[in-house]
């Protein structure tokens, strides 16, 4: 994560990419994107996207965070809004709005052995469905809506975390990578008990 000799703008180490332009582009991408006239019905594309989401779910269930991070662009955001409409992260706090460094902080923290909210760690099983892929103005960019039910066993209890995710994918060297994962919990504006796992 903090390899010696990396340039100063290594997003694992420094946060330079979360700029005005980055926010503006992100908010625009997450505005009015789930449009019927943009649905991708090409089975091959839909299958590729579905495989990506299923792989992501499995890697998170298995705590394989380094492999999980390879699904993401270097400059990504993991975003859990605190309002059901997604809100604007420039003027509102979110449940979570993590850049790469903070995501790696989160993973580092889990592994210290002293993250009491994850000691012992939650066990999770994620179900993903209703995957819909949407075109954007750019041929190298797709938006994906999927519904999720995550069963989380923690502290002698199993609970369900549910909602839908909006993945923004960008094509790089022939691969689709995640630029942003927006996780919309259905109870995101209510009090959450121990919201410490990566959703």
């Amino acid at each position: 994560m903090n390899a010696p000799g990396m340039p100063n703008h290594d997003p694992s180490r420094f946060s330079y990419y979360v700029t005005d332009a980055f926010y503006a582009d992100l908010v625009a991408a997450y505005t009015d994107w789930q449009r019927d006239d943009r649905v991708v019905d090409d089975i091959a594309v839909r299958e590729r996207v579905r495989l990506l989401l299923e792989r992501e779910a499995r890697l998170l269930d298995q705590y394989r965070y380094e492999e999980w991070l390879t699904l993401y662009l270097p400059n990504f955001v993991y975003w859990v809004p605190a309002t059901p409409d997604g809100g604007d992260p420039r003027v509102q706090v979110a449940v979570t709005f993590d850049d790469r460094r903070r995501t790696e902080d989160r993973i580092f923290r889990f592994r210290t052995g002293y993250a009491w909210s994850q000691a012992p760690p939650s066990r999770t099983v994620r179900l993903i469905g209703n995957v819909e892929v949407f075109r954007t103005a750019s041929p190298t960019e797709l938006m994906v809506r999927s519904n999720f039910i995550t069963s989380e066993f923690w502290d002698n209890e199993t609970r369900m975390l549910t909602g839908w995710a909006g993945h923004r994918l960008m094509q790089q060297d022939g691969h689709w990578l995640i630029q942003c994962k927006q996780v919309n919990l259905i109870n995101c504006d209510q009090s959450l008990r121990n919201p410490s796992i990566i959703l």
Binding site: N2, R13, F14, S15, Y16, Y17, V18, T19, D20, Y23, V77, A82, T83, G87, P89, R90, V91, Q92, V93, A94, V95, T96, F97, D98, D99, R101, R102, D105, R106, F108, R109, F110, T112, G113, Y114, A115, W116, S117, D155, D189, Q190, S191, L192, R193, N194, P195, S196
Partner: protein, 450 residues
């Protein structure tokens, strides 16, 4: 084991709350919790809302006073009111939305409607009633005393309570300093990190100024903040002998207290920003502002930094970093801890619109840090205390750190007690205040418009 006896609700309060320890029942007994809903969340000034949540006439939010559902609104004449969210007809809650703007509220059950000053406006088919609906008993009940201190709205049902200003007393000084940190001293609430835990509400209030838990409960965060070995960041100053540092805890009376970590900082503009741990966008914004503003950038960056104060206003308000934390009791063993984010306003135009926008956005990110990476561990420990309290025969909880060590304290002319940052003196003092409240017999009342 402790048995119930004859006085003050059937409990021997002096037995339950002793100078060095408290009984498990004060956190675990449902009847004590019920009594708290009147003797604490009723008898003293309870924080209800921030004025920035209802800036315009007819704005409202819904909330709770203890467990009582209330509507906090600015009525059509601009007066701030706390209406019971309860139809006088059959008791139904009138408003189920969390916020909005409305001059009236109509009951979804039989259609009785009320103006937002609490007066009844009308009922369907009044010819079926032999009563005069001008009788004030049909107007909504409301909290009889609602006052603000610099934007913070409080209410009490106790006509014998002192004025809000007197109730707050010396805690106003750190509150003022917290509010006046940015020019013009105006903040605006902007959504919240909302947490809940299966534990008694006092476990959160015990914790907010506790400097003793930091190095253990937040060890994962402190190690994370240090993972690049690039200097003192975040809460790193707790690592070695925190009692020897200039930070301190102070008990100011009426259950209020604060921990002040500001003396640990370098005394210069940017001193706060210098210890800020890692947040999305911080290097970009800092370099941009330094290029744009030169030396003035440091003071501006401090506005995005997390103010190192933990100010606790009994029973349910804490100013922590830049958050307004509100403690909401749900039941004896369930509590919501709502961390409202705040942004600043540029009241006198000294910051400038573009810089203000950048700083507030960065401030959103700094505020998300602790609830995500720190508070979750505390809340887990609160829950595990509640679990430990199931050991019926092991009855006592200690809050005796620093006790009988007078050399650790000093008391000033106003009676404010100062001690080292890890001391539990504030816990002992506030729980004595709590005990006196629980022993008292307050007269609670509601008001209705005439």
């Amino acid at each position: 084991m402790l048995q119930r006896s004859g006085n003050g609700g059937g409990y021997d309060w002096d037995e339950l709350v002793q100078p060095d320890r408290v009984h498990r029942l004060i956190y675990a007994d449902p009847e004590i919790f019920q009594r708290e809903l009147t003797h604490v969340f009723g008898a003293v000034w309870v924080y209800l809302a921030h004025e920035s949540q209802i800036p315009n006439n007819n704005d409202f939010i819904t909330g709770k006073l203890g467990l009582r559902p209330i509507i906090i609104c600015r009525d059509n004449d601009g007066k701030v009111r706390a209406l019971y969210n309860r139809c006088t007809h059959r008791g139904t809650t009138l408003c189920r939305w969390e916020k909005g703007n409305s001059r009236s509220f109509q009951c979804p059950y039989h259609g009785w409607s009320y103006l937002n000053n609490g007066r009844i406006r009308g009922v369907p088919w009044p010819d079926g009633y032999a009563v005069d609906f001008r009788d004030p008993k049909f107007n909504l009940a409301q909290v009889p005393r609602v006052e603000s201190y610099r934007g913070f709205i409080f209410g009490t049902l106790n006509m014998d309570a002192p004025s809000l200003a007197n109730y707050l007393g010396p805690i106003r000084k750190p509150m003022d300093e917290w509010i006046d940190r940015n020019p013009g001293g105006k903040i605006v609430v902007c959504e919240a990190n909302r947490l809940k835990f299966k534990g008694n509400w006092k476990l959160a209030y015990d914790n907010s100024a506790d400097g003793y838990h930091v190095i253990y409960s937040h060890r994962s965060l402190i190690e994370t903040e240090a993972r690049f070995n690039d200097g003192e960041k975040g809460m790193s100053y707790y690592k070695n002998s925190p009692d020897k540092l200039a930070m301190y805890v102070a008990y100011t009376g009426n259950g209020h207290h604060y921990k002040d970590k500001r003396p640990n900082l370098q005394k210069r503009d940017g001193g706060l920003w210098a210890i800020e741990s890692f947040h999305p966008g911080m290097e970009h914004v800092a370099e941009k502002l330094r290029a744009q503003l030169g030396a003035r950038a440091e003071a501006v960056l401090d506005y995005a930094g997390s103010e190192p104060m933990n100010i606790n206003v009994f029973p349910n308000l804490s100013l922590l970093g830049n958050h307004i934390q509100v403690i909401e009791p749900v039941s004896v063993d369930e509590t919501n801890a709502v961390w409202y984010g705040t942004k600043i306003e540029d009241v006198d135009g000294t910051i400038g619109d573009d810089v203000l926008r950048e700083i507030n956005t960065l401030r959103m990110r700094t505020q998300e840090g602790f609830p995500n990476l720190g508070e979750v561990d505390d809340i887990t420990n609160f829950e595990q205390i509640q679990r430990g309290l199931a050991c019926l025969e092991d009855e006592w909880i200690y809050m005796n750190r620093g006790m009988d060590m007078p050399e650790r304290f000093r008391t000033d002319d106003e009676g404010v007690i100062y001690g080292p940052a890890t001391d539990e003196v504030f816990m002992r003092e506030y729980i004595m205040k709590w005990k006196r409240l629980m022993q008292s017999e307050p007269q609670l009342t509601v008001q209705r418009e005439p």
